[in-house]
C-alpha cells in the first residue's frame, strides 16, 4: 500500500514539476498581458471606464460610435499609409544596404565602419530621434539650410507644420530609424546562403539580377516574411516619435491609430471609446500574429 502511495506521489511530483517551473512566467503573463487585454475588451462594452462612478454595459454602442467617427477613419487611412510605406521602404533600404555589406566590393574595414554607421539610427531611443529630427526639420533648421542651396526649400520651409507633407515626413523619419533591423536580419540571412548556388548559376550563365531574383529572394523568403510581419505590428503601434514630432497634427494629418487612441483616453478621458479603438488594433495585430506564427512553424518544419 505504501509502495502504491509513493508511486502516485512520485508521479504527481513528476507531472507537477514542469508546471511549477512554468508558473512564474505564466503568472506574469496572466497579470501583465492577459488581464489588461481582458479589461480593455470589457471596457469597450461600457459607457465609460476609469473616470465614471458606476459604469454600465452599453453593448456595441462604442463600436458603432467609433466606426461612424470620421476621425477614426482618417486615423486608419493615415495608419495604412504610414505602415505600408514604412514596411516597403524598410525592406528596400534594408535589402540594399545588406547586399552592399555582403558584397566583395568593399574591404573588411570599410564594411565594419559602414555597418556601425548604418546601424546607428536603430540604436537611438525614440526621444532622441524625435528631438534630432525636430531640430533638423524646424524652419531655419539644417534641412532647410542644405536644401536651399539646391533651391528645393527656403529657409522657412515647414516640414512638420504643412498638412500636405507632414505625414510623408514622419513616415520618412520612421523609415530612417527602422531600416537597420532589416539590414541586420537580411545580412545574417545572406551570409547563410550557400555560395555553391551562386557558382552553379554563374556557370549556367545567370545574370546578377536573375541570381538575386531566383536564389537570394527565395532563400531569404522566410526571414523577409518574418521581419515584415514583426515590422507591421511594430509600425501599427508606433507612437512616441509621431507624438513628439507633431502630436498627430496639424489638423489630424499625422494622426495614426495609436495617437487617436491616446487622445481619446488621455485628452478626452473617453476610456471606453479608446478601449474600443484599441480592441480594433488588437484584432489587426492578432491576425498578423497568426500569420507570423504559421510562418515560423513552416520555417521550423
Amino acid at each position: 500500500m505504501d509502495n502504491v502511495y509513493k508511486k502516485i506521489k512520485a508521479a504527481i511530483k513528476n507531472k507537477a514539476t514542469p508546471y511549477l517551473f512554468l508558473s512564474p512566467t505564466v503568472i506574469l503573463m496572466l497579470v501583465l498581458l492577459v488581464l489588461p487585454i481582458i479589461m480593455v475588451i470589457y471596457y469597450s462594452f461600457l459607457n465609460n471606464a476609469v473616470v465614471v462612478k458606476e459604469p454600465h454595459l452599453v453593448g456595441l454602442s462604442n463600436y458603432k460610435s467609433i466606426f461612424s467617427d470620421k476621425e477614426f477613419w482618417g486615423a486608419i487611412k493615415n495608419t495604412v499609409f504610414f505602415v505600408t510605406v514604412s514596411v516597403a521602404a524598410h525592406i528596400a533600404i534594408g535589402m540594399g544596404f545588406a547586399l552592399l555589406l555582403n558584397s566583395n566590393y568593399f574591404k573588411r574595414g570599410t564594411k565594419t565602419i559602414a555597418r556601425v554607421i548604418y546601424v546607428l539610427p536603430w540604436v537611438f531611443t525614440a526621444s532622441v530621434i524625435a528631438i534630432l529630427w525636430k531640430l533638423m526639420l524646424q524652419p531655419s533648421g539644417i534641412i532647410d539650410y542644405l536644401l536651399s542651396f539646391v533651391q528645393l526649400a527656403t529657409k522657412d520651409t515647414e516640414w512638420l507644420s504643412n498638412r500636405k507633407i507632414s505625414l510623408a515626413v514622419i513616415t520618412f523619419v520612421n523609415i530612417w530609424c527602422g531600416y537597420p533591423f532589416y539590414m541586420i536580419s537580411i545580412l545574417a540571412g545572406l551570409q547563410g546562403i550557400s555560395q555553391d548556388l551562386y557558382e552553379s548559376s554563374a556557370l549556367d550563365g545567370a545574370t546578377a539580377f536573375k541570381r538575386f531574383l531566383y536564389i537570394t529572394v527565395p532563400q531569404l523568403k522566410p526571414i523577409l516574411l518574418s521581419i515584415m510581419m514583426l515590422d507591421f505590428v511594430w509600425t501599427i503601434q508606433s507612437f512616441s516619435v509621431i507624438w513628439m514630432l507633431t502630436g498627430g497634427g496639424p489638423v489630424n494629418s499625422t494622426q495614426t491609430l495609436s495617437i487617436y487612441i491616446y487622445k481619446l483616453a488621455f485628452h478626452s478621458s473617453k476610456y471606453a471609446k479608446a478601449s474600443t479603438a484599441a480592441v480594433f488594433a488588437l484584432v489587426v495585430c492578432i491576425i498578423i500574429s497568426i500569420f507570423y506564427v504559421k510562418q515560423q512553424k513552416k520555417v521550423r518544419e
Binding site: 515647414e158 507624438w243 502630436g247
Partner: protein, 454 residues
C-alpha cells in the same frame, strides 16, 4: 544528484512564492492612512522628527498628488507639509509627478481606488473631474467648516458649486527681447493692435521673427494662452454673460481672427506654428530668434538662470485700437481639489485652508510666500506678497496684472482639452487661407456644441 534535484524544486517553489506575493502586493489597494512610503520617505522621517519636537501625531496621513514639488525649489513644498504637521499633527504625503503626468496619475488612482486625498488640478480638467465624481463638492465642505470663502481670489465652479480653488495664479504677459527691439528701432512698446503691427514690421525688416503662436496638437495651450490671451486683453470673449458659447457670428472674434490672419499673412508669426510647442517657443525666444511672445510669468526664473544674457522685458498685451476698457489677463493656476473617495476630507480641507489662510484662517503668509517664490499671484486675498526683491520685469507684470482682471474662459469647460484641439484644428485651415472666417467661427461653435451634446 537527488539533493540537486530537490534544491532546484525548492528554488522554483520559493521563486513562485515570492512572485505571487509581489503580484498580490501590486494588486492590493492601499490605505491612505497607512505609513507613507515612495518618494516621501525622507519627508516622513522629517515629520516624525518634528512630532518628537512637540507636535501631537494624529495618526492621519493625507496624500497630496501634485506637480508643485517638481516645479518649486527642492524641499519647498515638503517644508510647508512639515510645518503643517508640527501645527496639526497631520502628515501630508506628497505624491510628486510632472504636470504632464499628473492627470493620468489622478485618473489611474481613481480607477484603482488609490487616488490621493488632495489633488492639484488644471483648469482644463476640473469639469471632467467634477462630472465624473472624482472631485468632491468643496462648497459643502467649506460651508460645513464655516470657512470664509470671500478670501478666495477665484474659484473653479461646476454647476454652481466649487470643485477646486486656485492657490496661486500665473499671469501670461507679453514678453519682449529688448535687444531685438533696439536693433529694429522699436523705441516705444506697442499698446494697440496697429502699433503692434508696425513694431512687427520693423522687427521683420531687421531680420528677426516678430511673434510666435504655438498650435502644437499634443499640448493645445497656445489657443488659450496666446491666441485667446490676446483677445481677452481687448475685452473679446467667446462666452456670453450667461455662460453660453458665442463664437459663430461674434463680430469681435471675427475682427480679432482677421487681425491675427493679417499678422500671419504678413509673415510676422514664426513659421511652423502648427507643430510649435510652448517649450519650442520659449526656447526660441530665449535664444534671441523671436522678439515677442505671450508666456507664463513662471518662465522668468528659468530664463534668468539658463539665459543670463537675455535682455528681457514684459508689457501688457496690445489692445484693439478703439478699446478703452480694462484688459483681461489670461491666467493659469495651481488649484487644489479634494477627492470624493478621500477618507480624510476634513484633514484634506484643513491643509487646503492652511495653504490659503494659515492655521486660524487669518494668516496667508504661506500663500504669499509661495506666490513670491514662484513669480505668481496669490489665490488668497488675505495674502500680502512682498515683491520688492523681485525683478523689474516681474514688477511690471504685477502692475499690469493689477490694472486688469484675471480671466480664462476655458476654465471649467467640459473636455476643455478637446475643445482647444478642435479650435486649433479649425484655426489652422483659416490661417492657411483654406476656409473663410465665418466658416472657421461656425465650425468652432459647432465643435463646442457637439461636445456639450447640443
Amino acid at each position: 544528484m537527488k539533493m540537486k534535484g530537490l534544491f532546484k524544486k525548492l528554488a522554483a517553489l520559493s521563486l513562485v512564492g515570492v512572485m505571487s506575493i509581489g503580484v498580490t502586493a501590486c494588486g492590493s489597494g492601499t490605505d491612505s492612512s497607512s505609513t507613507s512610503s515612495k518618494n516621501t520617505a525622507e519627508g516622513t522621517a522629517e515629520s516624525t522628527a518634528a512630532a518628537e519636537k512637540g507636535g501631537k501625531d494624529t495618526g492621519v496621513t493625507i496624500k497630496f498628488q501634485q506637480w508643485w514639488g517638481v516645479e518649486c525649489p527642492e524641499g519647498y513644498v515638503q517644508n510647508i507639509c512639515d510645518q503643517f504637521y508640527k501645527d496639526t499633527g497631520i502628515t501630508v504625503e506628497l505624491l510628486n509627478a510632472p504636470f504632464a503626468d499628473t492627470k493620468t496619475a489622478i485618473e489611474s488612482g481613481a480607477a484603482t481606488g488609490t487616488v490621493a486625498d488632495l489633488v492639484s488640478v488644471d483648469s482644463s480638467w476640473v469639469y471632467d473631474f467634477a462630472d465624473s465624481g472624482l472631485l468632491t463638492n468643496m462648497s459643502d465642505l467649506l460651508a460645513a467648516d464655516g470657512f470664509d470663502q470671500s478670501i478666495f481670489a477665484s474659484t473653479w465652479d461646476v454647476n454652481g458649486s466649487i470643485y477646486a480653488v486656485p492657490v496661486v495664479n500665473y499671469a501670461y504677459p507679453l514678453f519682449y527681447n529688448k535687444d531685438i527691439l533696439d536693433k529694429a528701432g522699436v523705441t516705444e512698446l506697442p499698446k494697440t493692435w496697429s502699433k503692434f503691427k508696425e513694431a512687427c514690421q520693423k522687427i521683420k525688416d531687421a531680420g528677426y521673427y516678430s511673434f510666435a503662436l504655438n498650435l502644437d496638437a499634443s499640448s493645445p495651450s497656445g489657443i488659450q494662452n496666446v491666441y485667446m490671451g490676446f483677445a481677452w486683453a481687448s475685452g473679446i470673449h467667446f462666452k456670453k454673460d450667461d455662460g453660453s458659447i458665442n463664437v459663430a457670428g461674434n463680430g469681435d472674434l471675427k475682427t480679432f481672427a482677421e487681425y491675427y490672419k493679417e499678422l500671419f499673412d504678413a509673415g510676422y508669426i514664426y513659421p511652423g506654428m502648427a507643430s510649435l510647442t510652448e517649450a519650442d517657443m520659449t526656447s526660441k525666444f530665449a535664444s534671441g530668434e523671436i522678439a515677442f511672445i505671450v508666456n507664463s510669468a513662471a518662465a522668468i526664473t528659468a530664463w534668468n538662470k539658463d539665459y543670463p544674457d537675455l535682455n528681457l522685458g514684459a508689457a501688457a498685451i496690445p489692445v484693439k485700437d478703439d478699446y478703452t476698457g480694462k484688459s483681461g489677463n489670461c491666467v493659469a493656476s495651481w488649484a487644489v481639489g479634494i477627492t470624493e473617495n478621500s477618507r480624510h476630507k476634513e484633514e484634506a480641507l484643513k491643509f487646503f485652508e492652511y495653504l490659503m489662510a494659515g492655521l486660524n484662517g487669518d494668516d496667508a503668509s504661506i500663500n504669499a510666500d509661495l506666490a513670491v517664490t514662484q513669480s505668481a499671484f496669490p489665490g488668497s486675498t488675505l495674502a500680502k506678497p512682498d515683491y520688492s526683491a523681485s525683478s523689474e520685469v516681474f514688477q511690471d507684470i504685477y502692475a499690469n496684472y493689477n490694472a486688469g482682471y484675471p480671466i480664462n474662459e476655458f476654465t471649467g469647460m467640459k473636455e476643455a482639452n478637446t475643445i482647444m484641439v478642435d479650435w486649433i484644428n479649425e484655426l489652422i485651415p483659416y490661417m492657411d487661407g483654406d476656409t473663410d472666417v465665418d466658416t472657421y467661427l461656425n465650425n468652432v461653435q459647432a465643435a463646442i456644441e457637439d461636445i456639450y451634446g447640443n
